[in-house]
Amino acid sequence: MATLPAEPAAPSWKELLRDWAAGEGRAWTFVFKTLLSALLALWLAFRLGFDAPRSAMTTVFIVAQPQTGLVLAKSFYRIIGTFVGCLATLLLVGLFAQQRELFLAAMALWVGFCCVGAALYRNFRAYGFILAGYTTCLIGFPSAMRPDAVFETAVARVSEVMLGIICAGVVADLLLPQRMSRNLVATVRASYRDFVVFVDRAMCGRLDHASIEQAHDRFLAEVMAFEAQRDAAYFESPDARVRADRLRLLNAEFMAVTTTVHTQHQLMQRLRRNEHRQALAALAPMYKALAQELLPDGRAPATAAEAAPVALRLAAFRDGLTDRVAAARIALETGDEEELLAFDSAAAMFCRLTEELHDYTASYAALAHPARQARKPAPRYVPHTDPITAVLSGVRATAALLVVSAFWIASAWPNGTDAATLACVGCCLFAAAPQPVLAVRMLTRGFLWGLLAAFCCAFFVLPHLDGFLLLALGMAPFIMVGTKLLTNPATAGIGAGYNIMFSTTVGVENVTRFDPVALLSSGIASLLGVTVAGLAFALLVPADAPRLRLHLVRSLRRKVLLASFGRLQGLRHRFENGTRDLLSQLLAGAARGSGEDRRLLRRGLAVLEVGHTVIGLRQDAESGALTVNNRAALHAGLRAQARFFSKPTPQRRAQALDGILRVRGRIETALEQHGLDAPERAALRRIHIGLHQLRSLLLDEETYEALSAVERAAAPPEPAHAA
């Protein structure tokens, strides 16, 4: 404390330049690229004689993203969404063109359906759903006024959207591209390196509880970021496209191995708490040996190519592990039976950890080769889908659109189209956002500024200018302001709103009209529409309402039910993936550092631990080593355990423990019988170990605390007793 930090050397101008290029430089590159693609789209739209050149420009703003991969992924789903939306519009207009009430009701239902889809998928596919809903409004409302022109309107709109997409994509990909695939490579490398170092430290007991939780939090975020980057890089780089299967497998294995490390660490903690010194002493050399294999020369492999020898060494280590465990077990066989069982379960988990570490490393090493099949069929990424939240967001969108439409019809409002469209956009766009009300508020602020800018631009700047070049120059400063706002995450929402509002209302058309009133009323209508969407989010079962959140927190615990009753085929991955996805959704809405995030994380990890044990037991039960009665007893025990997880009460906990003890007794009797062949004996021992693990998890006060604590914190306050 007493020593002052050394005076940092003055950075050279080269370093300063490099810093600028990495930070602000990138932001400005993005600004100029977006400007260029917007103006290019506008110019081409004028040249090709489109009805509404501005909608090509708006498309550019909607798909504008700093990374090429994001632009291309958004564009791809935007194209699909636009097509589906067009087809839906043709159908709706064909069915209900004469009946505006029916038409609007059907439209509201369709938009609600799209919102449900968006909330269910929550990645780029969600974007396709959003666009399908949004395009229907965009084409449907104008063409409902002129049903005979619906086909032309649809074709024109699709052409404009395509033009915008092409311009955005080409500029993003060809001029100073910022590649998503580069981020992806960096993420893959960093997660492997961090993870290996983490395993080394955690195994040697050199990490405290808080830093382990922090690490798991980071791994969780990495899994999600990886999935998003993989999805986007797929469109951007042929390399990522060829490796898509392998990358998916890598992510699945990363998830699996992080859970196993956690379980292993918990087992060790329990050994320490129960003072099983002999077991700990027998396990310690094995951990050291594994750490040595993982970190050759004390350094984690930095690239996939460097990981290849590590994978080979891990394979050799895995093959010799059975003998190693057997040799270590001899010292314990004379001692306490409980301790021997604890050792067995820790050793079994250690074998699994080694196996999974090997798989993960091998998958990582396989990425170095340009074209190669994945080692195994890669499982799909399975997000957690919550039907209740999804249906709610659908209902919200339908209601918002109905309210706006009713007002539109009742007041014969000439700008009802704008309001209805924007209400729909707001509801769809934020259907899956963690804090939709905040997001809508940002968008509304952006709209306000955009409207102001459009007004200034249209009536103070543009009237003095003539020709496309001057038009472009006149609009450029306004566009740059909005795009610069987009580059800062804190103001990105405002920037998006600003750009969209500016480009739709500034009114650059084939025939220029000078009509301030029209501009203002269409802008105000859009603002009203988006406000209605915001109100829908705030009033109709708010997405961040305590009750809804409590429901999600409960679903996290109930993921164990999926592990207990789901179809066994591919269950391990589905369970793991869904639980992690839900956990990350919950963490996105949790206040950081409030203690709530740590409680959620602890609960998620406990659920993962229990679920994997249960799945292991179920798989062994299927293997045929059990008699019919024993199998029935095992399933009864698992059901009792599942009942506990659907509602954790002390009574159900006792029942679950009781059930597990009963099965364990039966398995022990079965193990004592003579005439079992080796595989049967091995399966029985695995089940025995699994039951032991499950029992110690249920007995673990920390786990129990983790499972019930969040509800207490998140539950709405108990109503006071009425006198």
């Binding site: 090709l48 074709v155 024109a156 699709v158 052409s159 395509m162 060809l174 591209p177 060829v242 340009p370």
Partner: protein
């Protein structure tokens, strides 16, 4: 203008297939500027189909 839209969609689908094939064959490792090549390929396809159909 509507006449070009189907051609565009067609060449888009074709591009998707051809691009996947080239990537699988490891062709892009030998190309100096992969994204420029991909874009040019698309332009060629779009132009060729458009000319063949509408000339």
């Amino acid at each position: 203008m509507p006449t070009l839209l189907p051609v565009f969609v067609l060449s888009f689908v074709l591009q998707w297939a051809v691009d996947g094939l080239l990537a699988r064959l490891g062709f892009y490792a030998n190309v100096w500027h992969a994204s420029l090549f991909r874009f040019s390929l698309f332009v060629c396809q779009f132009g060729a189909i458009g000319l063949a159909l509408y000339q």
